[in-house]
């Protein structure tokens, strides 16, 4: 019996989620991709792709229902959806917003959008998937961020304070779920990536010009002297879904090139 895995935010090419989908397919999983970016579905013919707004509990519950109708079970949930400004259909194609949104100059609507995309989404998905995961055990992997550890420096282009708060919430969510689901053989962990060369990063860099030359200010705080790749981050997430990490739960795995040592 193939394991059934759901990956939210797995449809955009050049994203961590997309690479996780490829990794889980290579492991022999049946993969369900839940995303708003339906344009990406044509590149995922071997997956069940479901248009899902993860910030909407009804949309999430419908996605879980369709998954179980098709595959009969859920073994793995990877919540990759997220972003500094929240997720709306327009964000998927529009250029990223400029400037820095802090907590003190944040409109309530922005706060809600960003928390919804980054924290509520992981809660809705794990709550809806939990009854199915509990039947045979499995794994949940959430994606936090180095921003949860160190915050976002005021002025950082293309980023936001609420994002740092939401990602810290993801770490707390991970720990609480680990306690609640452990006895059912469901492990819950998260990764906290630093700067990863995803399509989104390239988009932000195109605004600021920081991608010119390897000695850019972006690399100054990274002892490994490079940004992370989507492939290695995804490989780590896939490893957290598998038996090699069978005794890890509630953990946050920092993957940041030694840029922040928790």
């Amino acid at each position: 019996m193939n394991r059934v895995a759901i990956v939210t935010g797995g449809a955009k090419p050049d994203s961590i989620g997309f690479a996780v989908v490829q990794g889980l397919l290579a492991e022999g999983c049946e993969v369900v991709v839940a995303d708003l970016y339906t344009e990406g579905f044509s590149a995922l013919k071997s997956c069940l792709c479901i248009r899902t707004d993860v910030a909407d509990p009804a949309s999430v519950e419908a996605m879980i229902r369709k998954t179980v109708e098709r595959h009969g079970r859920i073994d793995i949930l990877v919540s990759c959806v997220g972003g500094s400004w929240g997720i709306t259909p327009q964000d998927l194609t529009a250029p990223p917003r400029r400037g820095f949104l802090g907590l003190t100059n944040c409109e309530l609507a922005d706060w809600r959008t960003i928390l919804g995309a980054n924290l509520d989404s992981a809660f809705y998905c794990s709550r809806a998937a939990a009854p199915h995961l509990k039947k045979q055990g499995g794994a949940i992997v959430n994606v936090a961020s180095v921003a949860a550890r160190k915050g976002i420096p005021p002025g950082a282009e293309g980023s936001s304070g609420p994002y740092a708060v939401a990602k810290a919430g993801v770490m707390g969510l991970t720990r609480q779920l680990a306690l609640e689901l452990g006895e059912f053989g469901v492990r819950v962990n998260c990764v906290a990536p630093g700067v990863i060369a995803s399509g989104r990063l390239k988009k932000v860099l195109s605004l600021t010009g920081k991608d010119r030359g390897p000695e850019g200010p972006l690399l100054a705080g990274i002892p490994m002297g490079r940004v992370g790749t989507v492939a290695e981050t995804a490989a780590l997430i896939v490893a957290l879904c598998g038996d090699d990490t069978a005794y890890m739960t509630g953990a946050t795995l920092d993957v940041n090139g030694a840029s922040y040592l928790a």
Binding site: G182, I196, P223, E232, A239, D244, M248, G250, A258, L261
Partner: protein
């Protein structure tokens, strides 16, 4: 699960005669890694070395070559010796006043100095090839303190975390990662020999029941995490401490 980035590499595993070290050596070998294994205790196929001595570490370095993965497992709550590589663990909690100067020095040497000497010896070779993965061993005793094995062991394993973070900063520019694993309670020959759980089976049962995953760990649980860190999946993980404890402690 087989991992990419392991086959054809070369590893040195210390403390490899039994338990966690042995499981790691076997796992890496099963992945197609050429494994040099060392222990203080003579055993077939192992290089014998007392890693608290820089002369012996230097001699060890002369007997191996091409090390890309360095896995420093050697250590334990009671310092091993050539005569007794698997010393009995105390059955009662070790209090501060019971730790004499010699015990303090020996436990620090066995758990912290060993890792320092081995890293110092092998880091230049890794820098020269601009690739390396260092995995050091901390402990749950360092992460949340220990009411069992004593302040000397907790302090030494805390030192491992500081050592590892500094290695990550220093060696990162050379393509070398350095991480620590902090195991929780793992069923090893040493733990079983100490009879933890036998003196008070009821308390032991309650302890296991208190773990989110409802079981003690196995040496293979740790070996899997080492394989992950050495593989391509670990390429951008550096300076981290990985808690592998069944949910007993979640990290700072």
């Amino acid at each position: 699960m087989s991992r990419s980035g392991l086959t054809g590499k070369t590893a040195l595993v210390t403390g490899a005669a039994s338990g966690i070290g042995q499981a790691i050596a076997r796992r890496l070998a099963a992945e197609g890694v050429k494994v040099f294994a060392t222990d203080i205790h003579p055993q077939a196929g192992l290089i014998v070395a007392d890693l608290t001595s820089s002369e012996e570490v230097e001699r060890l370095a002369g007997q191996v070559s091409g090390i890309e993965f360095l896995v420093n497992v050697a250590g334990g709550p009671v310092a091993p010796s050539r005569e007794n590589s698997l010393p009995r663990l105390p059955t009662e909690p070790v209090g501060l006043e019971e730790i004499d100067d010699t015990q303090w020095a020996r436990v620090l040497a066995a758990n912290l100095t060993t890792a320092f000497l081995v890293c110092r010896e092998f880091a230049p070779r890794m820098k020269a090839r601009r690739f390396g993965r260092i995995v050091n061993f901390s402990s749950i005793a360092a992460r949340r303190g220990s009411d069992r094995v004593g302040a000397h062991y907790a302090a030494a394993k805390g030192g491992i975390i500081g050592l590892t973070k500094t290695l990550a900063l220093e060696l990162g520019p050379y393509g070398i990662t350095a991480n620590a694993i902090a195991p929780g309670f793992i069923s090893t020959p040493r733990i079983e020999q100490a009879g933890w759980g036998q003196r008070s089976p009821e308390a032991h049962r309650r302890f296991i029941e208190s773990l989110p995953l409802k079981r003690l760990g196995k040496p293979d649980d740790i070996a899997g995490v080492v394989a992950m860190l050495c593989s391509d999946a670990g390429g951008y993980v550096s300076g981290a401490t990985l808690d592998v404890n069944g949910g007993l402690y979640f990290g700072p």
